[in-house]
């Protein structure tokens, strides 16, 4: 059996392996430099950045739920300029492949962020966090309107030569239509899923458990929904997908790859086990070797569907 090569292409982005630290779950990367060899990861998606510094929401900002957690961090952050000046050089020194996750409240902010980051050395790609409210559209989240998504992606596309990766929100009726809109607007890849809007209430005080009332659900609880969405998008678009949602083990990585992800992001698992990365890489290599594959792409989208008859019958009456 030949050796396994973990390298993958995600559109124009070349990664030494398909494992990417998910935005907001790995700080700016440098926080983990002591425990994780950043250069050994496919890439690091840093915490979402606005143009300006942000103070974020009041605590409590997280709460645990069955097989998951809610967060309402509120995108506390140092702003793009301090990031470029203070953090990026450290990431470069550590040879991290850096994907910068950007957020704005207007289309122009996204474009401006893209311009600033295009001039900064050491940025491998831009991931567009479109789970932010669009101030001009009355606060509806960019990522929940096809128009909002298209506007952001097109504006960023015009502003940067960097790979552009919109990150889709799962809080929509038809995620595949958003993936198609992203492709048409010039995205190089899409990443999905961001967190599911959710809440928890303390029944003794009757107050929401998060100061922000609503938060985003992540972790293993959401994995089956995220896998479904990656699978649906894979049928709908030609550009590559970075899949994520509840990955904890190498088996979960493989599940996303088979569903159609070209790369897999890992978020909440970092909190549970910061030393998870070598385990994931080893497990993935072992799986590929055991199944006689020499490259990751052999299994991307390699789902074995039942005969069309059965599938049609399924669609007729719906899942239940």
């Amino acid at each position: 059996m030949s050796a396994v090569d973990l390298a993958v292409s995600c559109g124009p982005l070349r990664l030494k392996n398909p494992l990417v630290a998910a935005s907001g779950c790995f700080g700016y990367g440098v926080e983990y430099a002591d425990v994780v060899d950043l250069s050994a990861l496919g890439a690091v998606a840093v915490k979402g950045l606005f143009l300006e510094e942000r103070e974020g929401h009041a605590p409590p900002r997280i709460v645990e739920t069955p097989s998951g957690m809610l967060n309402a961090i509120g995108l506390q952050g140092i702003g793009v300029r301090r990031f470029v000046d203070e953090v990026l050089p450290q990431l470069r020194a550590r040879e991290a492949v850096t994907i910068v996750n950007i957020c704005g409240t207007t289309v122009d902010e996204y474009a401006e962020l893209a311009r600033i980051l295009s001039d900064a050395p050491g940025v491998a790609a831009l991931e567009l966090n479109i789970s932010c409210p669009n101030i001009k559209a009355g606060g509806i989240t960019f990522g929940c309107s096809l128009r909002g998504l298209t506007d952001v992606v097109s504006a960023v596309r015009r502003s940067t030569p960097l790979p552009v990766i919109p990150k889709l929100t799962p809080n929509v009726t038809d995620v595949a239509s958003f993936a198609r809109a992203a492709e048409e607007a010039g995205a190089d890849a899409v990443s999905l899923v961001n967190t599911f809007l959710a809440m928890a209430i303390d029944i003794e005080s009757r107050r929401p458990r998060l100061s922000n009332v609503l938060g985003g659900l992540s972790g293993p609880a959401i994995r089956p929904i995220a896998v479904r969405m990656v699978y649906e998008c894979r049928q709908a678009i030609g550009i590559p997908i970075m899949g994520m949602g509840g990955v904890m083990t190498a088996d979960d990585v493989v599940e996303f790859l088979i569903a159609g992800a070209a790369a897999v992001q890992v978020g909440t698992a970092n909190f549970v086990d910061p030393f998870v990365w070598p385990k994931l890489l080893e497990g993935l290599t072992g799986y590929l070797a055991r199944h006689g594959h020499s490259t990751v792409s052999d299994i991307v989208g390699a789902i074995d569907l039942p005969a069309p008859d059965a599938a049609r019958a399924g669609r007729e009456v719906g899942p239940q």
């Binding site: 907001g24 779950c25 790995f26 700080g27 926080e31 983990y32 002591d34 425990v35 915490k47 103070e55 974020g56 009041a58 605590p59 409590p60 900002r61 997280i62 709460v63 645990e64 069955p66 097989s67 998951g68 957690m69 967060n71 961090i73 506390q76 972790g219 293993p220 904890m248 083990t249 909440t268 970092n270 909190f271 549970v272 086990d273 910061p274 030393f275």
Partner: protein, 276 residues
């Protein structure tokens, strides 16, 4: 540089119906730990609940020769994980990631040190007491609980030359009332110490910080916010520190990396949940 070990439980001393001491074979973590630092623990990585929980390093355990064997945790039952830690049996294992966070500063030049503990807030003071003793700083422990059952390990501190002053709310041991009352009386009675350290319920720490400030005495508090990762990655554990130049009167810093130990006068206490 924190490490994560799958530590063997060497013993579990149930000191009361709510409180126990777990001894863990985690020598490398223990050897690196400084007073006030913490670990993030979890049973089987794959098992529920999902997230780790933060615990102060209580004792650093040594054999007769002085070699480090591991560390202990002082645990109080309040919820899912702390219940499970109370039930753990020797021979079981606990994942233990650490040491993490900023330690107490030992103050220079070394004057006298007072440690103010409320209930299980005693936890960070065992290692601190050893460090103070090594630095030949005279130390006093002011230690309060609701009732005498809440006061544990008192002799442990006495054996290490720490003066101990106890309070209970129900008067069942030591002075009746709150530990902050005892602190107030000590401050009124003579010169303040070189440093006051406090750990316990947030209102208590706030009161200690206010008293220290009034007597122009430096103070450090060890906060206990909810923590998701312990490594600075999730931004869940923020506490607002004062900065008069900012519109909000302060800014959020992560207490897992910038704390859990903070100077008492840096905390924007009004913004802290449960500090009322």
């Amino acid at each position: 540089m924190p490490i994560d070990v799958d530590a063997l439980v060497m013993s579990n001393d149930r000191l009361s119906a709510t409180c126990n001491v777990l001894k863990l074979a985690a020598p490398a973590v223990a050897a690196a730990a400084r007073p006030g630092q913490f670990v993030m623990v979890k049973q089987d990585l794959a098992a529920a609940p999902l997230l780790r929980r933060p615990f102060s390093v209580f004792e650093v355990l040594r054999d007769e020769r002085g070699d480090i064997l591991g560390l202990s945790l002082l645990n109080q039952r309040v919820g899912i994980v702390t219940e499970a830690l109370y039930a753990l049996e020797p021979g079981e294992r606990l994942r233990c990631l650490g040491p993490l966070g900023r330690a107490f500063s030992l103050g220079s030049p070394p004057g006298e040190a007072w440690m103010v503990a409320g209930g299980v807030g005693l936890a960070p003071f065992a290692t601190l007491a050893e460090a103070l003793r090594a630095a030949q700083v005279p130390a006093t422990l002011l230690y309060g609980g609701r009732s005498k059952a809440d006061l544990v390990y008192v002799d442990w501190f006495r054996r290490r030359g720490v003066r101990v002053r106890l309070t209970t709310e129900d008067g069942s041991r030591g002075e009746p009332g709150l530990v902050t009352g005892a602190l107030e009386r000590m401050l009124a009675a003579g010169a303040p110490p070189g440093m006051i350290y406090a750990c316990g319920p947030t209102p208590m720490m706030r009161a200690v910080a206010a008293l220290a400030c009034r007597h122009r005495c430096p103070a450090e508090v060890s906060l206990e916010p909810v923590m998701g990762c312990g490594l600075g990655g999730c931004y869940s554990c923020v506490v607002r520190v004062r900065d008069e130049r900012l519109p909000a009167g302060g800014r959020f810093v992560r207490s897992c990396v910038h704390g859990p130990v903070f100077p008492g006068d840096r905390i924007a206490w009004d913004a802290l949940a449960g500090a009322a």
